[in-house]
Symmetry: C2
Subunit: 296 residues, 2 copies
């Protein structure tokens, strides 16, 4: 199957699963509209798709992993809602629509984000029993979720982003570090939980981790490039935010062409880690290479 079709099919699967998973909240809480709005905006769903394809590569099916993949997307949505708030990046548009706080107010958006963070742990801790995964593996997955979302992951990246604003002395290594926490952490999480639950050797798990770390940074570099080269219509979110917010990016440091080169190098470096396993992780390789096309 062509990779574009594969992604389209999995995206639909994830969208349907996300919708079904939050539906019970509809009767339970006045927060449902805000949660549902933010979560079901047309996202690329790259993170949950990575989880599905990693697990599928190992186990040959994906059904049991769907709730975990959705939990990664919930974590991602939580971080978008909070990052977009007026007290943070103050973004008006996301995924082609008004941001959550623009529609529901900052108070409801804050709580919708908080709710999604807890919900992701709720889903991971309750889906383990149902799908007969070993309890030890579930705890390892939860540990990965906690690290990826916290001060060593998403939050840490956001903090570094803020404290390095207006800093003209920032170097490439620091930017890589920020990108790896901001975006790398969830892409890493998405791939790793597929590996943990699938069950693979330590060596293979390390290779998957390295793949995801390099791919994750390149994914953020590509985002930074698009922030200056694309239009708000195509991206579905505010552009030139980085410049406006004086954020430290590789684009600001080296310009677009050099940043493209770095992104490309990272992608090819990332898929090198998968080569020892032959065709097993072909889908992951294809997804990584496809992502480069966004800036071609």
């Amino acid at each position: 199957m062509k990779i574009e079709l594969y992604i389209e099919e999995k995206r639909k699967l994830i969208n349907n699963a996300l919708e079904a998973m939050i539906l019970p909240l509809k009767e339970q809480s006045p927060l449902y509209p805000a949660i549902s709005y933010a979560l079901l905006l047309p996202g690329k769903r790259i993170r949950p798709i990575l989880t599905l394809s990693t697990y599928d590569a190992i186990k040959g099916n994906e059904k049991d992993i769907i709730p975990f993949a959705c939990a990664v997307e919930m974590l991602h949505t939580y971080s978008l809602i909070h990052d977009d708030l007026p007290i943070m990046d103050n973004s008006d548009t996301r995924r082609g629509k008004p941001t959550c706080h623009k529609v529901y107010g900052s108070d409801m958006a804050l709580l919708a984000g908080d709710a999604l963070l807890s919900l992701s742990f709720d889903i991971v801790s309750s889906s383990g029993f149902k799908n007969n995964f070993e309890a030890q593996k579930i705890i390892q997955v939860i540990q990965d979720f906690a690290v990826a979302s916290g001060i060593r992951g998403l939050v840490g990246g956001q903090v570094m982003d803020m404290v390095t604003m207006n800093d003209s002395d920032i170097d490439k290594e620091t930017i890589f570090y920020i990108e790896s926490m901001k975006t790398g952490s969830l892409i890493r999480l998405a791939v790793r939980i597929g590996g943990i639950l699938g069950g693979i050797s330590e060596e293979e798990f390390t290779a998957l981790t390295k793949f995801s770390e390099n791919f994750g940074v390149s994914y953020q570099v590509i985002d930074d490039i698009l922030d200056v080269t694309s239009t708000a219509e195509i991206l579905g979110k505010d552009i030139e935010k980085d410049k406006k917010n004086r954020k430290a990016t590789l684009v600001a440091l080296f310009g677009v062409e050099k940043a493209k080169e770095i992104a490309s190098d990272l992608i090819y470096k990332s898929i090198d880690f998968l080569k020892p396993f032959g065709e097993k992780y072909k889908v992951l390789e294809d997804i990584a290479i496809l992502s480069l096309g966004r800036v071609k």
Copy 2:
């Protein structure tokens, strides 16, 4: 030992443990000052103390449960930071000091709260291995953390609080429901995880749950009474916030005297659930009765 001395001793233990647990973040993140400030403000630590005493009543020691008790306090602090934000309750004072956002700004305060929520799951999922608790029990504890913090707990209570503001038609049952989510959920969590990790019969666990639910609601009713009868100096936080924010409380509905009666009834109802176990949970009973003294 007199209960006041017991509480004072455990409070010190918790304060020291909290300080030690976040110390590794000091070198790791510019967010450390905001996290440390909010977490180490002089709180009553009632929730972690409940965890210690529940577990101690069952197992005769408390050492292994300390990280879990601290994780409950982190969850509590996260909710205070977010609730106090200008986009929420807009409170200037907490635990006798300026609120986190007053000192570090709303952006850092938001992220400090987010970090503490993830950190609590980080601690719970990593402390299980270290202390040889059964993996199944750890997952059950994580599930309880997720439910208590999310839309069926803290977040749910906060949302209901907001949507019922200015609602003059609100009845006692709805207020009970809000109080049980807002405050009850973490007190329930604190007691229940002591029970889960201690290991008790289902019957005993149900009794502990009922104790914590009734105590939890009464604890919030007492808070609502103090909001109108106490001073900002004694409480260490803004007073008359409920009236200002037109929040639905039992005090607003029935007046102070009737609210005191309800709180007292709830406390005695709560300790009735512990009677079948003789003196085993005497400390929990003492803590519950002591809490009534705050409004005497």
